[in-house]
Symmetry: D2
Subunit: 144 residues, 4 copies
Amino acid sequence: MARADFRLAYPMRVRWAEVDRQGIVFNGHYLMYFDCGITEYWRAIGTPYPEGLAEHGSDLYVVKATVEYQGSAEYDDMIDVCVRVASIGRSSVRFAIEIHRGDARLVSGEVVYVNADPATRKSAPVPAFLREAIARFEGHAPVG
Amino acid sequence: MARADFRLAYPMRVRWAEVDRQGIVFNGHYLMYFDCGITEYWRAIGTPYPEGLAEHGSDLYVVKATVEYQGSAEYDDMIDVCVRVASIGRSSVRFAIEIHRGDARLVSGEVVYVNADPATRKSAPVPAFLREAIARFEGHAPVG
Amino acid sequence: MARADFRLAYPMRVRWAEVDRQGIVFNGHYLMYFDCGITEYWRAIGTPYPEGLAEHGSDLYVVKATVEYQGSAEYDDMIDVCVRVASIGRSSVRFAIEIHRGDARLVSGEVVYVNADPATRKSAPVPAFLREAIARFEGHAPVG
Amino acid sequence: MARADFRLAYPMRVRWAEVDRQGIVFNGHYLMYFDCGITEYWRAIGTPYPEGLAEHGSDLYVVKATVEYQGSAEYDDMIDVCVRVASIGRSSVRFAIEIHRGDARLVSGEVVYVNADPATRKSAPVPAFLREAIARFEGHAPVG
């Protein structure tokens, strides 16, 4: 996808501590970038994590994450973490994420969350308010 | 899989700095645990990273990583990072990794590396010495 | 000191992965924040690290760091990393750093670098161009 | 000090993700190593953190940390984090820490904790059980 296909692009600067001996960001750190982008997504749709969900009796747990590496971010690079909800299932929300540096896509991936009751940590249907907030932000209702 | 299906299980202790506000290891850190386990795998088969590969004109780059979360490691837990090579393609090596705490599997995943020329970073066939070292360690030749 | 006493204040947002089980930033991560602030300092004075120094045959190594904790940053906080050069010795540069959240100072500390020849890593006098760039930025010449 | 002057030396292996573009451990990560060593210290004296303290109505907060860098740990190095309590004040416990690689000391530092009531986070006298456990382990009573 192109960066323009994402409603949210969160700019981040690569830190010295995130770059390894090969001069590139350590592969695991991209999941931290994904997480930062998703934080901004919750804020953007009006339900900042975790309070915006907790007040509706909801919390989210990661069940799967995938990262594909097409390029490498380097020290001091400005990168964009592009985030959208690709699909919503009965109790799950699947994010599609891409990291771009200028016109080049460096990394793409997915993070799947399951909606859960914070007390029991048991999965629960994605609440209507969340489906609606996402649909409003994306301009359409992502389906599972 | 069971822990016994892995030739290599690397014990690690969860650090305070790795645990988040939910009291569980941050989801991205598991890729760091995977990386530590893979380091031990290279050592175990006799080609410690990166020198053992470099002396044969070889280096490895991650092209894909997947993590599935079935449970959560917590502060001070002793966990086992179980590593095996699941398949070898023309120029790629695919690791299957599981993290266990005692009898419980917490996390499973894959990390796919492409073998490359260190100078050009272009993909190159997995060298014979590496196929053989892996086959010797695993007791069979993993195929793509 | 007050935030206004610093010519440079770099805003950062606290990440989920940086917060521990007590709900506060892990104590060691503040040195990473310090490092990010110092990166911005080099950029602000016109010698972005490491190229701006390397082209003058110079590199910098940390020899001492101190952190004092008066408060705690929490998840999603916007903090300001305030950086100034407090003194310059024959071969050393001492940064004074404070982290503020709004009007509250959370953390203060120092990072001392020694200027070195990149090839030999032996200490060398702080070059004149660096003393001058710092004096220009600070509005006075910090003395050792 | 020599490594033999410490009752506790905790061996750790440097991870790929901890090493920067200069090929050495990022300066902030040593505080994480310190923290791991201190975790082992609490375990060694019979009060594993945090439960061993919490059951006595006690918790500890870092108020100051200092790191001095004499050398650099590199990827895959085995290092020893040497920990002792250097002094105990009314409400504070001061750790002296050194990181050795073989016979070479790479890093030395201090971490000062204040004992606090977990509920109010207000400082409180270091409890007698803790003074005694430390004195028993060290073979003498460290004084402030």
